[in-house]
Each structure stands twice: as C-alpha cells, then as structure tokens.
C-alpha cells in the first residue's frame, strides 16, 4: 500500500517534470502566457508530490518493510529510528530520490519568487530545472526504484521488481543487511545532505544563466538574481566538505582528514569552479568584463555537479568497466554529454552579444588579480580532473590500472595554493581600475613587514622546513592584510560617526556584507592554512605492540597500556576497547579509550580513535590489533597532529563569513525613487 502510494507519487512528479519542461518551452516559443503559468504551477507542485514519495520511503524504512529491496539493503532490526530515517540517503535509490526532492524544493522556491523584472527568464528557468528533475526521476523510475520488492522465481532465482513477475513469490526477510557502519557516524548523517544541498543549489544559477543565453540577454540580470543562490550553494558545498573532513578524521582511522580520494575530489571540483565564479562575477558587476567567462564557469560548475554525482553513483571509480554494469552510468554519461553540447552551443550562439567592455587599466588592478585567481583555481581543477580520470583512461587504453595518490596531488597543487594565498594577501590592497606598483607597494610594505615576523620567530625557535616557513608567511600576510582592511574601514567609520570600534566593525560588515563576509572567509582560510601546514608537514607517527603496563613514546607524549575490555552492544556491535594512560612531559593528562567496533551482521570493523585534543595538537591513538585470547598485547598506531584543530576552527570562521556574505541586505532604494516616494507621502507620515 505505502509503496504503491510512493511509486504513484514518484510517477506523478516525473509526469509533472516532463509536462513542466514541455509546457514552459512551448509556451515561450509560441508566446502563450497561460502555458507558462501552467508550467510554473507544475514546478511548484513537483515538490509536494515528491515529498509524498520521500515520506513513503521513510515510512517503509521505519516500518522494517524488508520485503522492499531498498529497505532490506540499508536497514536492519538493530538500527534506531533516527538512523533508519537517514538511510533515505544511505543507498543508491534513496539518495537519488533525495537529490530529486531537494531539486524540486529549490525549483518550487524559484517558482514562488516575484518575476516582475525577469519575466522573460521564467519559462527557460523552468525548462532547465524540470529537465534536470525529470532526468534524476527517470533514473529512479526506470533503473533504481526504491519501491521494488524482493521476489523468488520458481527456479529459485532472487530478483527485485515493483510488479510481481510471473510465477514468482514474494520474499520477506526477517532482518535487513543494515546501513554501512561508516555511514552511522553523526558526521556522515549530515555530510551527504549538505553536499547534495550544495550540488542541487548550483542548478538554479545554471538555470538562470541558460535562460539568459536562450533569450539573448547580455546584462547582469541572471547574476543579480542568483547571487544569493550561488552563495548558499557554495556555503552548503563548503560545509559538506568540512564536515566530510571531520568525519574522515573521526571515523576512517588514518589520522587525517583529506586523502585526495576521487569521491572527495568529486565534491571539491564544483567547489573550485564555484569559488572562481564568486570572484569573477564581481568583475562583471563592477567593470562589465568577463561575461563569457562567467557563463563558462557556471556551465562548468553545473557539469561538475553532474560529473561528481556520476562518479559516485555509477560505480565507475571501482573500474571503468563497472560503469556499464548498471544503466545509471550510460544514462548519466549521455545526460552530461548532452548538457555540455547544448550549453556550449547556446554560449557560442550568444558569443557576440556577450562581448563586454573587457578593458584593463593596469596589470596590478583588482580585476587583473581576480583573473589570476581564476586561473589558479582552474589549474587546481585541471589537476584534480586529471588525477581522477587518469586511472580510468589508463585502464581503458592499456588495460593497466594505476593509482594517483595524495603525493602526486600535493606536489602539484601546493604551489598553486601558495599562489592563491599570495593573491589573497595582495588583492584586497589593490583597487579596481588603475593600481600602480608604487601605490600597491606603499600599501603592502607594512603588512609584509609585520607578517614576516611570524616566519622569523618560527625560524628562531627551530623550524627549518622552508615550505612551512613560506606557507606560514603567506598565511600571516593574508591575516594581517585582512585585519588591516577591517581596521581601515572601521577607523573611517569611527572618524565619521564617532562609533566605538566593535560597533564600527559590525556596522562596517553590515553595510557591505559581501565584501566583509569575504574577508571573514579569508580569515577562516588563514586559520585552516595554519592547521593544514601543521598536520601536513609536522605530523609524526609511530606504531607499537604493547603488553599491559608497557609504554610508547611519541614527541613529548607517553602512553601506558592499561588493558583491554571486550563487550557486545544491543545494536549488533562487538567492541574491543583499550584503556590508556597518557602523559605529556611526564605529567598525567588523562586517559584515552581507542576502540574497534566490529559490526557482526555486515562483517565490517570500524576503528574509533582515542584523541587528546588541544588547540596546539591532537594526540590521536588507534587500536589496530590485539591478542584476542590473552588480552595482554595490543598494537597501537599513534599520531601527533600539530595545529589540526585550526582546520576546524578555520572551518567555523569560514562558514560564519559565508553567512555574513549571503545574509540578505536591505533593498537599496534609488535616490530618485526615494525622493518621489517622500513627495508622495503626506506630511508627518
């Protein structure tokens, strides 16, 4: 019954998406407003209908309906209700429905906005949103139906189908396989929705960009309308990446947060183009330049969103040949190819209309430096793309798979990231238009001198890594310049309005949220850079097998193995937990309990570290082996991660900055309109 309602709602949404796309396109071509309005309503109602479908899946998950293949795959009797709900995005079919649900929600929100100024864009925005929605729903309806049931044929073969195959009888398992243990961590519960939110939100700016191309508008309207959408998309993508890093640090048991894994890079690539886009639209708004480039960037971002979903959903990462094993891979591939061709065709068609001013007053102007910033982001993207696809290319052409590991990425991207830091330090001091080297030098010398104090102190205190010294200097330069900018703006306000410094700072940021929100984001990057350099260059590790009472040394830390306890939990885990006493410089600093959780049903271990965390460093201990009978010996892998908490602290500042930048500003009322309004108002009003 529930599955029937869910599937019917799914089909209805699919129909609405197809109708919405067709009606909007036909209405726009034949200039029939009633059809366009009908398409807008179809877009509006796609969200309630797919919500019914998503709720039906949740009801099946909560109701332990193991006769439904998806439920049997991602839940089991031991899972608590909240994990059963999160299993909605824990498997292939559910996550595709979740993706569609988010897209329908955004599309509905778009359909409810006032369309006074951009009425001509509406039908084509509807077309793009509804075509994307129809594509994802097609994957769900025709390939990965979450409502399919388990059946067994008279020959004994087990299969899944929504309708009963002839002669087959239903199978109702008493228990399910359960969600992948790695996905049961709080970080992983919120990580996929955040990434999906980021991915899906980028569909909206792309839809507006395409609408502008289709109707032939060369103004900044599409950028103005989607400015906040883009920032919100970027916020969620950033948040998803940061939370994903924290999850990896807490759960994957390798002492790090970023492993240059293709799945991570799949989410990082649209973030790179999105970041480049956020910078380059400022040039278009200020100078009318880069119109082609901004179109290209938003098209690229959308394609990378699709490509990222394709990489993680098609199985292509395990082997290039796995991608054809399910219809999802070829369907995605075709959709990405088609989207690319159509988008580029429209861009080329409007190439002449988009010719902007494209004039630069000086090489050191803010717009020039933003162009260099975009170049570096695109270079990092190209490296990531090459690293992800090269193993597939190699397998395809030579039959030989290769590994492109972190060492390769780090060696190539490190100078590019350093270049970005340098730009973040210099660009805020340059101005739009004419910015000479002499003027820039006059602005720059003091921040450079102050920031050089940081590597100087580090050098005196014994740091000898030139890469670390350079990195810390660049990060310090960004920090000093950014704080200097805040101080300069706040001082101007203090002189003008007589405000105290905190009030001046808050009002300064409030008056120009995008600029000062951006500076707060830069401060977040500075903190993250301190943390990343700390852990990447100065992480130390050791491993040893200890008998009870024995010690292991690492840096200024010492740990003593006190014993091991093993017990079972009601949710199907067999836990082995070590007890350690930890000392720093000979003084006791507490106990740690690293453990290994073995999930009995899924036959999967999970290593949970014991961490002593301070702002200075993390003492991070993993239990990697033990004697199951004697319980006297246990093997530990221990990391000392300097400054790693700056990564998380920087992440929080980064997100706060994005919130400041994305927060709605009061609509600026033009002076003329305000004057007219004042005249029209009765006296004393």
């Amino acid at each position: 019954m529930i599955e029937g309602i869910g599937f019917a709602a799914l089909m209805l949404t699919f129909g609405l998406a197809l109708y919405g796309a067709g009606a909007a396109a036909y209405g726009a071509r034949t200039d029939r407003p009633e059809l366009i309005e009908s398409a807008r309503r179809a877009m509006l109602f796609s969200w309630p209908t797919i919500s019914i479908s998503a709720l039906a899946i949740i009801a099946l998950l909560l109701g332990s309906r193991y006769d439904i293949a998806y439920v049997a795959k991602v839940t089991n009797n031991a899972m608590p209700p909240y994990l059963r709900v999160t299993a909605l995005w824990g498997g292939q079919a559910g996550s595709l429905v979740f993706w569609s649900w988010l897209l329908a929600a955004f599309a509905s929100a778009v359909s409810m906005r006032k369309w006074d100024r951009d009425r001509d864009l509406l039908p084509w925005v509807t077309v793009v949103c509804m075509v994307t929605l129809a594509f994802f729903l097609a994957l769900v309806v025709f390939v990965e139906n979450p409502f399919s049931r388990l059946w067994i044929t008279p020959e004994g073969a087990q299969l899944t189908a929504f309708f009963q195959p002839e002669g087959a009888r239903a199978v109702i398992p008493s228990d399910g396989q359960g969600l992948n243990p790695l996905l049961r961590h709080p970080g992983m519960i919120v990580h996929p929705p955040l990434l999906y939110l980021g991915f899906v939100s980028f569909v909206i700016p792309y839809a507006f960009a395409m609408a502008a191309l289709i109707v032939g508008r060369s103004d900044d309207g599409w950028i103005r309308v989607t400015r906040r959408w883009t920032l919100v998309a970027w916020l969620f993508l950033s948040l998803g990446l940061i939370v994903g890093g924290r999850w990896a640090y807490d759960v994957l048991g390798w002492g790090g947060y970023w492993g240059w894994d293709p799945v991570e890079i799949a989410a990082f690539m649209p973030w790179l183009t999105g970041t480049a886009f956020l910078h380059s639209v400022i040039i278009q708004e200020k100078k009318g330049m880069m119109k082609h480039w901004n179109m290209l960037l938003i098209i690229l971002t959308y394609l990378l969103v699709l490509f990222g979903t394709f990489l993680t959903r098609s199985g292509v990462l395990s082997s290039v040949h796995a991608f054809a094993q399910s219809a999802i891979g070829p369907m995605f591939f075709a959709f990405i190819g088609l989207t690319f061709v159509i988008s580029i065709w429209f861009l080329l068609k409007r190439w002449g209309d988009l010719r902007g001013v494209n004039q630069i007053d000086s090489i050191l102007s803010r717009e020039s430096l933003f162009m260099v910033n975009n170049f570096l982001f695109i270079m990092i993207l190209a490296v990531c793309f090459l690293g992800v696809i090269f193993p597939l290319v190699s397998e395809l052409f030579t039959g030989q798979t290769v590994t492109v590991g972190p060492e390769w990425y780090e060696r190539i991207t490190a100078p590019l990231f350093a270049g970005l830091l340098l730009l973040m330090g210099v660009a805020p001091l340059s101005v739009f238009g004419i910015s000479s080297w002499r003027a820039l030098r006059r602005q720059l010398w003091l921040p450079v001198a102050i920031s050089l104090a940081v590597p100087a102190v580090l050098l005196i205190t014994g740091m000898r890594s030139s890469a670390a010294l350079l990195g810390y200097w660049l990060a310090s330069l960004v920090g000093v310049v950014t704080l200097y900018e805040f101080w300069r703006g706040a001082s101007a306000r203090r002189r003008r309005h007589g405000e105290i410094l905190p009030v001046a700072l808050v009002r300064l940021a409030g008056r120009n949220r995008r600029r000062y929100g951006g500076y707060v984001i830069h401060l977040g990057v500075v903190l993250m850079a301190f943390g990343i350099i700390g852990i990447e260059i100065f992480q130390i590790e050791t491993q040893g097998t200890l008998a009870r009472g024995e010690r292991l040394l690492l840096g200024r830390y010492e740990m003593v193995y006190e014993g091991l306890t093993r017990f079972n939990t009601s949710d199907g885990r067999e836990i082995s937990r070590a007890e350690l006493s930890v000392f720093k410089d000979g003084r006791s600093v507490g106990q740690l309990f690293p453990r290994s959780d073995y999930y009995i049903v899924s036959n999967q271990p999970m290593t949970i570290p014991g961490v002593r965390s301070t702002l200075e460093e993390d003492f991070y201990v993993l239990l990697v082996g033990w004697e199951p009978i004697g319980r006297d010996g246990a093997t530990f892998k221990v990391y000392l991660n300097p400054l790693v908490n700056f990564v998380w602290l920087g992440g929080v500042v980064f997100i706060l900055g994005t919130l400041v930048a994305a927060w709605p500003e009061r609509e600026q009322v033009p002076v003329r309109r305000r004057a007219a309004h004042a005249q029209a108002m009765p006296a004393g009003d």
């Binding site: 330049m289 270079m379 798979t401 590994t403 060492e407 003008r496």
Partner: protein, 158 residues
C-alpha cells in the same frame, strides 16, 4: 674425536642460537614496515594506503614487507616485488613510463599554456592609450580613505 665432535656440535648450536637472537634483534619495527607500506596500495582497497588499511589482505602484505625487510630487502626491491605480482597500481604514484607520462607532463604544460593565454588576455585588454601604469600617479592613501568614507556616507544615508 668424540670430544671434538661434541665441541663442534656445541659450537654450532651456540652459533645457531646466537644467530637466532641476532635475527630477532634485527626484526623490523612497525614504523619501518609502515614507512614502506605508506607508498603501496593493495588492489582490493583502492585509495587506501597499505599502512592504514585494516583488511586481512593488507595485514598479510605488511607481514610480507616485514619478512622482506628482515631478509635485507630495500624499499625499492620490495616495491618492485609487489609491482611484479600485482601491477603498477600498487604504487602510490604512476611510474613515469608510457602513457603515465601524461600525469607528469600535462600539469606543467597546462600551466604554461594557461599562463600564456592569461598573459595574452591581459595584454590585449590593456587600455589602448598605452598609458604605463608604472608612471600613472598612484592614488594616495588619504584619497583612498576619502573614497571609503564617501562610500560609507552614501550607504549610511540610504
């Protein structure tokens, strides 16, 4: 003769015992094993370096590394051994041969090409007046501050 044989056996046994003690003393540490394992990936656990992978297969690989280190193999020899058994995919980075050259050549070539395109765009977009920014009068600091104040004044009044 019997006494000599007895002495010889005793010497051999003690030498054997000493040898065993020595071999145990030279048993590679976990850190030495991990230093080699860090650069290897087993075929069944893509994207997880061998030193942190907890699967049974990877544990066996690490024991194999330990044995080879104890036998005096170098890191390069051990890596070559695994490559001969399982192919190039076990290495953390592709060896610079054949098609793999692409991953080493494309980034610098792409960087240079991109930089040239960027430089070309910047040059062609410079104002045709040919005014040299070096000689352009730089906006003075107070003027900049005045602009900031002006902007704030304008925004403050809106």
């Amino acid at each position: 003769m019997r006494r000599f044989s007895g002495l010889l056996i005793a010497m051999l046994l003690s030498a054997l015992a000493f040898g065993t003690v020595q071999a145990q003393g030279e048993q590679p540490t976990d850190d030495e094993v991990n230093a080699v394992a860090k650069g290897l990936y087993c075929p069944v656990c893509p994207n997880t370096p061998l030193d942190v992978c907890e699967t049974t297969a990877c544990k066996q690989w690490r024991e194999s590394i330990r044995e080879k280190l104890a036998q005096g193999w170098s890191q390069g020899q051990i890596e070559q051994f695994f490559v001969s058994q399982y192919g190039d995919r076990v290495l953390a980075t592709p060896p610079a041969t054949g098609l793999n050259w692409l991953v080493y050549l494309l980034p610098p070539v792409g960087f240079v090409a991109g930089a040239l395109i960027l430089a070309g765009a910047l040059r062609s977009w410079r104002k045709p007046s040919g005014s040299d920014p070096q000689s352009t009068a730089a906006p003075a600091d107070p003027a900049y501050l005045e602009r900031v104040e002006e902007e704030l004044r304008r925004r403050g009044s809106s």
